[in-house]
């Protein structure tokens, strides 16, 4: 059904609440439109407060974490270390300063970022407190779980082979 016909049958309000129509512009019009949009955005960005910018950064981190731990397949691009490093970068902090603020040694922080140590249980809690509850501890725990799941799947055969020698008995029924 054409736009004109819909507009004849329904109010603009109803249409706007249900649809976004395709609008074609010529190359010249598109270029001018993009320029105007860039100018309007520039003006808005100049007025943006630090709190507003930080909110955007934290929301971005949170959504990436959600996408990671909710995904069916593990994504090796991400990990607890990746998100921790990103959190510190988004706050524009030095690692030493951040380690101090959450009461850990800089060496431990480095080990956590580089995935050379499993995060102790208190770390997600301290991260939640540090973020003023913006990133709940549950998010960090779920990321850690997802990391484990990914590692299990990646090394499935090797891990089973390694443990096989310790299992000397078992049941015969399989469900």
């Amino acid at each position: 059904m054409s736009y004109k016909k819909l507009l004849h049958e329904h109010s603009p309000k109803d249409l706007a609440e249900s649809l976004v129509f395709p609008v074609r512009l010529s190359a010249k019009q598109q270029k001018a439109a993009d320029l105007q949009l860039a100018e309007a955005r520039q003006k808005l960005q100049e007025k943006m407060t630090d709190a507003e910018k930080l909110t955007g950064r934290l929301m971005g981190l949170k959504f990436r974490m959600e996408d990671y731990f909710r995904a069916e397949k593990p994504n090796t691009e991400y990990s607890f270390g990746y998100f921790l490093k990103l959190y510190i970068e988004l706050l524009d902090m030095k690692r030493r300063e951040f380690a101090e603020q959450i009461g850990i040694d800089e060496t431990l922080l480095s080990q956590l970022i580089n995935q050379r140590r499993t995060p102790p249980e208190y770390i997600p809690i301290r991260l939640e407190l540090h973020s003023n509850n913006s990133i709940p501890a549950e998010y960090w725990f779920r990321v850690i779980e997802k990391d484990r799941e990914g590692a299990m799947l990646l090394n499935k055969a090797a891990m089973r082979k390694k443990e096989m020698k310790y299992v000397t008995g078992g049941i015969s029924v399989q469900i």
Binding site: M1, Y3, L7, H10, P12, K13, D14, L15, A16, E17, S18, L19, V20, F21, P22, V23, L25, Q29, A32, A33, D34, L35, Q36, L37, A38, E39, A40, R41, L44, Q45, M48, E52, K53, L54, T55, G56, R57, M59, G60, L61, F63, R64, D67, L90
Partner: protein, 155 residues
């Protein structure tokens, strides 16, 4: 995200996921307003369904402009039964717009922006309903307003 069942006022859980080839079997122009097959490959396509159900309640076509940290809502629709008066569910279009905002923030953090190019007659309504701002012929959401639409539709 929550969709409201108009008859009962109940909040129902919905999910948005990428459109798959098999979905095109149920997507007709009559029910979903546009020729969605034409949009294949032109951008990212998403569907909104109630959790655990396969019936598509809304569709979204997003185009990414990475150099501008911007995602454009190229096309959006609710299914015919959820359109205008007598609709079964409310909040479908808002949830799809909020999903676009969420996707942009997940990619571009504080620089994220979503935009759309409106039909002239609908311009004022996108602004009042979703808080969109003027950017020449285009409308956009960025900063606090972008965050607000996510909080409203994807609490």
């Amino acid at each position: 995200m929550a969709i409201i069942e108009v008859a009962t006022g109940r909040k129902l859980t919905a999910s948005i996921s990428p459109l798959e080839d098999i979905d095109f079997k149920q997507i007709t122009k009559k029910r979903y307003f546009f020729d969605w097959k034409k949009e294949k490959g032109a951008g990212e396509l998403f569907k909104l369904t109630l959790q655990g159900e396969s019936e598509i309640l809304g569709l979204l076509a997003l185009k990414d402009f990475p150099t501008e940290f911007r995602m454009q809502i190229h096309l959006l629709c609710v299914s015919r039964e959820n359109y205008s008066k007598g609709k079964k569910y409310d909040g479908i279009a808002g949830s799809l717009i909020a999903f676009a905002a969420r996707t942009a923030i997940g990619k571009y953090f504080e620089d994220a922006c979503i935009s759309l190019l409106p039909k002239t007659e609908l311009r004022a309504h996108y602004k009042s309903k979703y808080g969109m701002m003027d950017g020449g012929p285009q409308l956009f959401l960025e900063g606090a307003r972008l965050h607000a639409i996510i909080k409203k539709y994807l609490p």
